[in-house]
């Protein structure tokens, strides 16, 4: 369920915390396991993380459902997380989100039919002076325009 590579990554996080505090690594462990399993979590993968960290399944479940970065439904290989909070909104984010939805033929929280891209509307990503902006997987893209969005999205393969 958890690969050797993933265990190695999780162990590096466990090493940061005091002895017997390995459950501190649960947030990263869930992210690592999520990345290995089609970018989403389910009851089995969450339990596997809990077992690996020697913590109750429900405690890992609580973390997995409290924080926003975990996916419990199908998402694309690329998740476009579009900020729609105040600074981005003032700079036209709503129109750009509509453009992106039209371009991809999906609504927010849906996945393109080829499984490549899904779009999420998210709260402030902390890049307000670069508004409007979105995040694709780990990367930020700022000062977006329709042209810029088209170029970025067309390059996703």
């Amino acid at each position: 369920m958890i690969s050797t590579g993933a265990k190695k990554q999780i162990d590096a996080w466990i090493a940061k915390y005091p002895k017997d505090r390995q459950s501190s690594a649960v947030m990263q462990a869930l992210k690592i396991v999520q990345a290995e399993n089609g970018n989403r979590l389910n009851a089995d993968t969450i339990q596997a993380v809990a077992d690996y960290l020697n913590m109750p399944g429900i405690a890992a479940q609580e973390v997995a459902t409290f924080y926003e970065n975990y996916n419990h439904k199908k998402v694309g290989k690329y998740v476009i997380r579009f900020c729609h909070n105040i600074s981005c909104m003032l700079n036209g984010a709503d129109d750009l989100i509509a453009h992106l939805e039209n371009k991809l033929g999906v609504k927010t929280d849906e996945v393109t039919s080829d499984g490549l891209i899904s779009v999420k509307k998210v709260e402030c990503l902390g890049a307000c002076v670069g508004a409007p902006m979105f995040q694709i997987n780990d990367d930020y893209f700022e000062n977006l325009t329709i042209d810029k969005i088209d170029k970025i999205v067309d390059n996703l393969k």
Partner: protein, 422 residues
């Protein structure tokens, strides 16, 4: 401008250890390792400097550090709060990306002063580029022998680690942040006990904002009095202001406390497309909104902004021009707090939902007579009735938007459309 956290901003590889050391970086830390500085001296300098917590609460940093029971037994911790996520705020991201060593040195100094041999920097989960940049800087610092055990053959120990968040605004609240490091849901703790007594893993802990830590080395280097003199009374030093919204050149500016708002607006290129200023949120989405008239005569310091009727917060200045529909802005903010409430306290969990749903029905053209009173009633019932400040943060914008722009809300309810957008 740009004298402390942004000191090296324009230099080549401003984030590298080489650049940081070339401009005096780690000289305070090296003095500490040589036994030339005492914790008492550093706390005194910080008190003189007038440095107040840059995360939003504005609590004096020197005083906070003096609360730690440094002579008590047991492990103690310093924690840096880089869980930046208040709408309008994006300064800590730039500090992590462009001056990570100042954060490391500031945390190490804090560790020494408070006798805490371990530190954690909690970085929000979305900040992957800043996270990698900070990790690289940590590696540089360890390789240069600046961190670890018996550093440079001294008796000083300091190990520093990163912890990554996973998407929760509430983890910026310091006790929620501690819960999160412990691998739990980020729900704030009831206080007292305060973290200085019972903090991370049950041990004495002090939490400071990224900008606060990053300011410490320069303050100790140049003296508390120098920093105090840069600012104004009650607001020492300079501060990063994130200016976003309808301005020509949105950016982060590190300017002296007490800088007139109108000068800051000018630095950001002024209003875009020659539009008129309508409203300003001066300190991040939680702080009360101000009208243009009030904002234009305000100075950017704790007392100046308070006098204008708002708060300095994290220095997140959101500029709105005349085309802005205040009903739409407040609805979006209400959605934010509804989304981010941790669900622990009933007034906040239920109240933020009520605020959002009532505003949503107004913006959908289904507002009812009495909705304004309903909104005011709900925000009043949240205010002061929750464990942490998120409840107040959700309530304050509602009261100030309705007070300053009530006509727009009345119009929307009556006509089912925006007074501004038509």
């Amino acid at each position: 401008m740009n004298e402390v956290c942004f000191k090296n901003l324009t230099k080549d590889q401003c984030y590298s250890l080489k650049t940081y050391e070339a401009s005096g970086g780690y000289s305070v830390w090296r003095k500490i390792l040589k036994g030339q500085l005492t914790p008492e001296h550093i706390i005194d300098e910080l008190k003189v400097s007038g440095l107040r917590g840059r995360g939003g609460a504005g609590f004096p940093t020197g005083l906070k550090w003096s609360f730690m029971p440094r002579h008590s037994d047991g492990q103690k911790y310093v924690v840096c709060n880089s869980d930046e996520g208040e709408p309008g705020t994006c300064k800590d991201r730039d500090i992590l990306r462009f001056n990570p060593h100042a954060v490391i040195e500031g945390m190490a100094i804090g560790g020494f002063v408070m006798n805490a041999s371990v530190g954690y920097n909690y970085i929000r989960g979305e900040f992957m580029a800043p996270f990698y940049r900070f990790e690289d800087a940590l590696k540089e610092a360890y390789e240069a022998g600046l961190l670890g055990q018996n550093i440079n053959n001294s008796s000083v120990n300091f190990d520093l680690y990163t912890h990554l968040g996973a998407g929760a605004y509430i983890c910026g609240e310091e006790t929620a942040l501690l819960e999160s490091i412990e691998g739990k849901k980020g729900q704030p703790r009831f206080k007292p006990p305060f973290p200085a007594n019972v903090g991370l893993f049950g041990k004495s802990t002090t939490i400071n904002n990224t900008e606060s830590f990053a300011s410490v080395p320069e303050i100790i280097n140049r003296g508390g009095q120098w920093f105090a003199d840069v600012g104004v009374e009650n607001s020492g030093g300079c501060k990063l202001f994130s200016v976003s919204g309808h301005v020509k050149n949105p950016a982060n500016f590190e300017v002296p406390m007490g800088t007139p708002f109108k000068d800051l607006l000018k630095m950001a290129g002024g209003m875009r497309d020659g539009a008129q200023l309508k409203a300003v949120i001066p300190g991040g989405s939680s702080t009360p909104v101000l009208t243009a008239e009030v904002a234009m005569s305000m100075t950017m310091d704790y007392d100046g902004i308070e006098k204008a009727g708002s708060m300095l917060g994290a220095g997140s200045v959101i500029i709105m021009d005349e085309s802005t529909c205040m009903v739409a802005v407040l609805t979006r903010l209400a959605h934010f707090y509804y989304d981010e409430s941790c669900g622990q306290c009933t007034p906040c969990r239920e109240g933020t939902g009520w605020l959002y749903r009532v505003l949503k029905r107004i913006i959908d053209g289904n507002g009812k007579q009495g909705d304004i009173d309903l909104l005011l009633g709900v925000q009043d019932k949240i205010m002061g009735n929750t464990i942490c400040a998120l409840g107040d943060a959700a309530a304050m914008p509602v009261e100030s938007f309705l007070r300053n722009f009530r006509k727009e809300f009345e119009y929307y309810i009556k006509h089912g459309k925006s007074m501004v957008k038509g």
